[in-house]
Amino acid sequence: MASISEYDIIPYGDSAFLVQFATKVYSETVTNHIHALIHSLQGHDHWEEVVPGYNSLLAYFCPAKFKPYEAKKVLIKALKNPVAASKSVSKTIDIPVCYGGEFGPDMETIMESSGLSQQKIIKLHSEKSYTVCMMGFIPGFTFLSEAPQLLHHARRPTPRTIIPAGSVGIAGWQTGIYGLESPGGWQLIGRTPLNMFDKDRDAPFLVHAGDDVKFVPISPLEYAKIEKRIS
């Protein structure tokens, strides 16, 4: 059982601290704790950036306003007493996904490694809800909580040079969504027609760290319909 009290505060350059939790595996407790911390630190305007990781948190401060030891003091205080994000802030968002075929070119790889049928993989992947643990490395990329164990799979040995936006993939125990077309090495099992990131939308980000998402399997026909509706 991962503990929220096992962590180190590591200086990261002269303007940031990294809070590194000891857990090496996915821990819901630690993830929720990190999101509560983010929530309480974001209220303090001396931080330029507060960024969640799976088992870490980056707090980047402005040294013109904040001496390093003062920043650390605020961080330690927040770590001891984070203001939990109220449940109404987080929401569950349905993400329609067309699994397999041209949308999930690595489905067969996962079928081989798991010994499961495509139908069973779709059921496993879509029946649970996931927490959005962190965003990045590029806009809209959505890092989710742990995938069902049978679906765990290492990244592709050679990354693809182009992965279409909306692709849903597996990397180790992680599952996630490519927000933009980009290179990448995740095993792709499906794709959503939704735009995870759209700079011209009133709300450019479909999801935020701390939200819950649930995948809803759709057919290629439904994919085309949704794609047409939102374009």
């Binding site: 990261y12 490395f137 590029i138």
Partner: protein
Amino acid sequence: MIEILQTGTRITLQDVGRPGHRHEGIPRSGAADKLSFGLANWMVGNDWNTPALECVLGGQHFKFHKDMTIAIAGAEMWAQVNGQNVSNFTAFKVKSGNILTLSFARIGCRAYLAVPGGFQGDDFLGSISTYLPASLGGYKGRALQSRDQLETLDITTTTRSIPKGYAPQFSNHMVFRALEGPEFYDLCLASQRNLFIDPYEATQNTNRMGARLKGNKVVPKEVTNMISSPLLPGTLQCPPDGQPILAMTDGHCTGGYLRTLQIIRVDLWLMGQIKPGSKISFRRSIGDDAFEVLAGRNAFYSSLMDGFSF
């Protein structure tokens, strides 16, 4: 109005970027060399953080369609107006019909062209900084192309020269002061030392996102799979092939490679002058010293440019 005749390697519109969105995967972006960008603006009488053009490696030609004052700062690119040399250290007047040419970056990589009142661009999250991977900000979300026309304002300005001591001196061998990154001590002892000994060289894979370096291999004590974690500009990452990658202003917000060194804040602006072939050395800094140096340099430059900070 200014017309782009030739874009050279690249021209983008930049300001000081959009801080506060790394948790959403949006890097700060902004002028890669914040200091030269600020000085170019100061010379034409702008606030230091006014939008300006970032010109990479030279080859840019501009045509002016009205009389105006302009300034160039940053990498020395043999700038000429209608064949007459112009300075990187003083604002100057151009006439309607004049053509400004930037030849090539002899030293450094990026030069900034500022005009009174700055340039208009597409706003995203409070900044017009161009971020090409997601087509954000800038001129229609893209780099400038030849025949693009940029409107300029009719405002009178002072024509300033950078006072002695304020203009940075560039070299093609750059030295960055750095602190140990979060995973520095996961490196083998030889690699910990090597990072500070021989210079690295920036490869062709060098842009606003990062610079892939070549030089002494950087090897961890043991190979482990790191869990994706936040990443900052100025971090020297160590991928499995042992050739480090320096994250820059448009760099990824999270990453899964060892974070071995972190360039101190006061030296980050100089990363904007790294070009393929640049030699790069790291010198060990100490946390408290870095803070003092930063406070001193902020005071020095904000006495010239109101509100400037590194």
